[in-house]
């Protein structure tokens, strides 16, 4: 008994998406409308199709992590290095090899940097740790959760480079850097250790963590100075952008000349240069 109706509904099923989309020829659209008037189940379908279309239109796109861009740039530089020399002489930009080196901790130059960073970090940590007043006799528990015999920044510096040559993984260093500001007050030597980490750590992720930790210590005047000085040293786009955002949000006017230089650097990514330009606009 219901068969003709079901057949009609079955036929409608193929037409309804086009009906909702308003892409049916007028005659067919009228036929569908006539059927809909007397068919609650097809009406429900239309309501659902409209809701679904709205939800599809409202769906947010998936956004990739910035690592995808970094990986692409590294791959591009590798491919450029493989081009025949005739092509490279046509474009005499000297930067490419340096850029690839900066991204991979295994590169030869970074081993040298690691040693240099170790020395600087230990020296800075020990020196500043000794000079500061709270390294002796302070009882607010600053050093209790590290090593009681060492001042916290010195311990941090030591821990970051590893005792007696032991390798500390990047994720452990991030943990150390992130925790560093939880037990310190603005004005102590941790700022200097973090600035050294920001400038010399081989891993961009550790440098980013140092950036964030320094932002929490932003009341210290050395932070503003240090961030500005760090701008020309950074080659990783993520760190560059983080630094630009920080000098802008801290309103460090002194950073403008560095931003101008960064905006013109041929080896900087277009997105970094644009960010630097935008930062200059906000600061001046």
């Amino acid at each position: 008994m219901k068969t003709p109706e079901l057949t009609a509904c079955h036929e409608m099923e193929a037409l309804l998406p086009a009906y909702v989309e308003r892409s049916l020829p007028t005659i067919e659209a009228e036929r569908v409308a006539a059927h809909l008037a007397g068919c609650p189940s097809c009406q429900l379908q239309v309501t659902q199709l409209r809701a679904l279309t709205d939800d599809l239109d409202a769906a947010l796109p998936e956004v990739p992590r910035t690592a995808l861009r970094a990986n692409f740039m590294a791959m591009l530089e590798q491919q450029k290095a493989l081009l025949p020399t005739a092509a490279t002489t046509a474009a005499p930009t000297p930067a490419p090899p340096a850029k690839v080196v900066s991204m991979w901790p295994t590169a030869v130059a970074n081993n040298w940097m690691r040693i240099a960073a170790s020395i600087v970090l230990i020296a800075a940590g020990v020196l500043l740790g000794r000079q500061l007043p709270w390294s002796g006799g302070n009882d607010n528990g600053l050093a209790t959760n590290t090593n009681a015999s060492k001042a916290a920044p010195a311990a941090l510096a030591d821990a970051l480079v590893g005792d007696s040559g032991r390798h500390i993984s990047a994720s452990d260093r991030i943990q150390l850097v992130t925790n560093s500001t939880k037990v310190t007050e603005p004005g102590d030597a941790t700022v200097q250790v973090l600035l050294n980490t920001l400038n010399f750590d081989p891993s961009p992720n550790v440098r980013l963590a140092a950036c964030e930790a320094l932002y929490r210590l932003r009341d210290d005047p050395r932070v503003r100075e240090g961030l500005t000085n760090s701008l020309p040293l950074q080659t990783d786009p993520n760190v560059q952008i983080a630094l630009i955002d920080m000098v802008v949000s801290l309103r460090v006017r002194r950073a403008v000349p560095q931003l101008e230089r960064l905006a013109k650097r041929p080896d900087a990514l277009p997105v970094v240069r644009a960010q630097a330009e935008a930062g200059i606009g906000k600061l001046i």
Partner: protein, 172 residues
């Protein structure tokens, strides 16, 4: 792209900026796996460089790059199937873990149901909806990409929409 073809590789940067987001989105909808999609997007650009000499300047870059992305996804799918045949348990276990990580990454819970429903569609239907609804492809373009007429693409897209509707409102 013509410049990239002539070994001016820096000209790939603007193309990357323009297409890597949409390609990543397309591949994420197909694989339901962000990490894999990042790898696959990278592979697409590697192949663009590798096969740049095969690019015909008369051809729209968009069509060429999506064709490449489809091939990259198809290769990934084949590898995955082989792996599944070799060690079903292992793949199911890591697949489950990845699925869990994937669902935790969601920022907006409102669209979870929609994405789950999309994930349940067969890949060809999902692909056609993703192209049409998320990537802004017209039926003409879809037809060219899938090797069918625009009218066939339209019928397929409507069937896919109905299939998605049934899954999406299954509980109602």
């Amino acid at each position: 792209m013509a410049a990239v073809r002539a070994d001016d590789l820096d000209q790939l940067v603007p193309l990357f900026e323009r297409y890597h987001g949409p390609l990543f989105n397309y591949l994420t909808r197909l694989t339901n796996d962000r990490e894999t999609s990042e790898d696959l997007t990278q592979t697409v650009f590697e192949r663009i460089l590798k096969y740049r000499s095969s690019y015909q300047p008369t051809q729209p870059f968009k069509a060429w790059v999506y064709q490449m992305a489809r091939n990259v996804h198809a290769d990934y799918w084949q590898r995955k199937e082989k792996l599944r045949a070799a060690d079903v348990d292992e793949v199911e276990r890591t697949g489950g873990l990845r699925g869990a990580a994937f669902s935790q990454m969601r920022v907006s819970s409102h669209h979870d149901d929609l994405h789950e429903a999309l994930a349940l569609l067969p890949t060809p239907q999902r692909e056609i909806l993703v192209l049409n609804r998320f990537q802004g492809f017209g039926y003409e373009e879809i037809g060219k990409l899938l090797g069918c007429t625009a009218e066939a693409a339209r019928v397929k897209a409507h069937r896919a929409l109905q299939a998605l509707r049934k899954i999406y409102f299954a509980g109602d």
